[in-house]
Symmetry: C2
Subunit: 481 residues, 2 copies
């Protein structure tokens, strides 16, 4: 175990001051070019040296015929070349003195015995120069905090706190647009590919020491160093949560994973045991993987398994109660004192047990202010889950019918929604208790967007919310063991 | 069992030519007014008679002091009044000769013994005049085909094919905006509330005979007539699928459901048995309920449990393979002949087993045309699942780099996306095999929107897609038994 992040071979890979780039040209459809375009688009501030036999300039960067010609020894080489010339290129990098590389190129171990021979050759070449590298057969790295994104898809959104370790490049580069609307982003992300030199355990070590990383997310097709994984995870979990999706546990997943990165998967039970032993929270899908990061990264430690559901609609409340029960969470009644305090804000037919169901008929703003505030003062309310409904169209109709012009009504609605969101965001900060929302409304809803921007997770179903709250609770329970 | 839909008491309720409306006024914040506003907004073409003691006009409709004064006997009375005057109003309706009603008002059985007494009184009053009614404690009906929506939320989207039977009003009125972006809508929807007169089984009977209904969706907190439910479901399932969400199976769900509509829930096993015996497909969430309607309503009968996954990214392919395996679906390899036919369209490192993984490097349009077309000719390919990625931003960047202006590039992208969508939509029609897509992209993506508009379900995760394909397969398997 290293003591400083600077000692990790991944530090210069994720934080390079200069990059030699092999395989980009001015032909806009090749992989290498597409990746360099992403890097340029995000405006990486380090020095970029395209290596190209004939071009004088690549995407506006001065190009060099050979890595030997570079004016300095770059921190990192990125190689996106045909399989057959990768080892030779690695050798040239070694001779220049480069110590870190990313091999994007595929055609190695994942394609069969012939590729495995090439991979061995590549490893030997790198080892001869003491080069540590990510890949082959990967997408490499993204570090939005450094504006570094040499992956195919354009980066979207702000830098975030998720440290991603992935045996799939897609779950790095194709997730930018998925995470952004959730207000999430990567602290950094590594696509490890065939793990010929640097593997997932090395990445975990890096993120353990990375100050920008609040949660480690892992997409796993097969762990190569089981004992090291457990040891590393155990040392991290008391400080930072790790969430993992393992897809090699089914016959169909195992087979697809092997042809993808050549990873050897094991039975589902075995992995379940590894995760359990090491305190890793297991996700059942990509959806859960990032949902769990959301609650674990945004919310405070809960005091227990109790959840209070606040709703203004019976069905969504009952549905959520059922989902919470299935997820193993408890729904205690509020104390009599709390119920007394809430009574004045409720119509006579409303239920003040749990779900706390306001029904449709009183002041809607109470649902975002005095009611959740009062609920959160109850000792039995460890977590709060709020049902929200996009009401813009309905409000607009009502305000128009009351005689407001379209503009006046729109302004009024923005004001109301701002108040609602700010109130909940404030409660999240002041109460010290986890708050999540769920809705069947879509992501374009301004209330949802404002809550998310303010750090309140909003899930598209009570089942997703229940699983994510359960992950949060389970993590803190494990820490106490 | 009735033989004509006209014999159902729900026919005049869902297709009224005229409505007496109690409880709407010109005060914009009351429930009744809000409901009448929705009706007005959707432009219901029947005759609307607000009954109001003092107003001369309500929301632009001529108002009447008493139902006795109406110039005709309306097909339907909608009652949104304080609990205490509901029975008396029902009596007035009876004296006028009205035979159908919806009682929106709550405060009956769901609030306890006192309310139960009021509910008995209401039933007796209605029975004395031979009135059948929905409710109390419900939202009533929506029939978008008739532009009839006396529910609180504005109707969104087109009329559809889902016949909704719900013990929650929210899962009628609050679902309009949820279903619309999926290209789905209701044929009609009934919120049954406390089921004092008309119950879920009556609604099933109506939808069995409704030509606009392709799938029946049910939200259930507790079935009151178990034997009748099973008999009715059994008679319907050979012709139309029924999908049901039951939420009373957990202690938390049972308790919440009871305080919501006073329904007596039973153990989960019992309901599992009821659904299994009657061929009803069980959904585990609202998400699944409508996902299953999507595949069952849009897609042809599959020939078996085999699914072929098409992807251009290894991780999403392996992840989907795992999800399919967990859902009990099979992923056979394609025949050698099919693989030979596909080979020319694939780069050498690509996998042509299953998942069929094109990787990133060739002509992207092939993924929507010749490749799926060839896959679908394989006898072993019973179902096709395609991974899609929103590529607009990346395409825009590339075309701009190639020298196209912003406008030219945008035009080119629209053309490419149109071709992609049309090709897949065409294959769905010509192949006679189910096709679904999955993506981590968001609903604003134009490719996704076009596919959905053309009838291709696009799911936000492979897990959702797997569950929905499994529901489709299971329904047709059950029919063969």
């Amino acid at each position: 175990m290293i003591h400083s992040i600077n000692d990790s071979p991944l530090f210069p890979i994720a934080n390079p001051r200069s990059i030699a780039f092999f395989g980009a040209s001015n032909k806009m459809t090749t992989m290498g070019t597409i990746q360099m375009m992403s890097m340029k688009e995000l405006d990486y501030q380090g020095r970029v040296y395209p290596i190209h036999r004939t071009e004088k300039e690549v995407l506006g960067y001065k190009a060099y015929q050979s890595v030997a010609d570079l004016p300095e020894v770059p921190d990192l080489a990125i190689i996106v070349l045909p399989t057959g010339i990768v080892s030779q290129t690695m050798d040239e990098c070694g001779r220049k003195g480069i110590k870190q590389a990313i091999v994007i190129s595929g055609g190695f171990k994942e394609v069969g015995p012939e590729g495995a021979v090439l991979e061995e050759e590549l490893k030997k070449t790198a080892a001869a120069y003491g080069i540590r590298f990510i890949g082959p057969n990967c997408i490499g790295v993204a570090n939005p905090h450094l504006k570094l994104n040499p992956t195919p898809l354009p980066y979207e959104g702000d830098p975030g706190y998720i440290g991603m370790v992935s045996q799939s490049g897609s779950f790095v580069t194709q997730m930018f647009g998925y995470l952004h609307p959730m207000g999430l982003g990567f602290s950094a992300a590594f696509s490890v590919g065939n793990e010929a030199s640097i593997d997932m355990v090395d990445c975990m070590e890096y993120f353990a020491l990375c100050e920008k990383t609040k949660v480690i997310a892992m997409y796993i097709e097969g762990i190569r160093r089981g004992a090291a994984f457990i040891e590393m995870a155990r040392s991290i979990v008391p400080k930072k949560p790790i969430v993992a999706l393992y897809i090699g546990g089914t016959e169909t997943g195992r087979k697809a994973g092997f042809s993808h990165t050549g990873a050897m998967a094991g039975p589902d039970d075995l992995y379940e045991g590894i995760f359990r032993q090491s305190g890793v929270i297991r996700a059942a899908s990509i959806t859960e993987l990032f949902d769990f990061c959301w609650t674990l990264g945004n919310l405070p430690a809960p005091k227990g398994r109790n959840v209070v559901i606040e709703t203004h609609s019976g069905g969504p409340g009952a549905n959520a109660a059922d989902a919470m029960g299935r997820a193993g969470l408890a729904l205690p009644d509020l104390s009599t004192a709390t119920q007394e305090k809430l009574r004045p804000f409720f119509p006579p037919t409303a239920s003040i047990s749990n779900p706390v169901d306001m029904t449709f008929s009183r002041n809607g703003q109470d649902l975002f202010s005095v009611i959740p505030e009062t609920i959160l003062t109850d000792e039995k309310a460890h977590n709060l889950m709020m049902y929200i409904l996009p009401q813009g169209r309905m409000m607009m109709r009502q305000l128009s019918a009351m005689g407001l012009s379209g503009d006046e009504a729109a302004k009024e609605i923005v004001k109301m929604i701002d108040q609602q969101a700010e109130s909940v965001i404030g409660l999240l900060k002041t109460s010290g208790k986890p708050i999540v929302c769920y809705t069947y409304g879509n992501r374009n809803d301004p209330l949802q967007q404002k809550l998310i921007a303010g750090g309140v997770p909003v899930f598209s179903s009570p089942e997703r919310a229940a699983a994510a709250i359960n992950a949060l609770i389970t993590y803190y329970e494990n820490r106490l063991k």
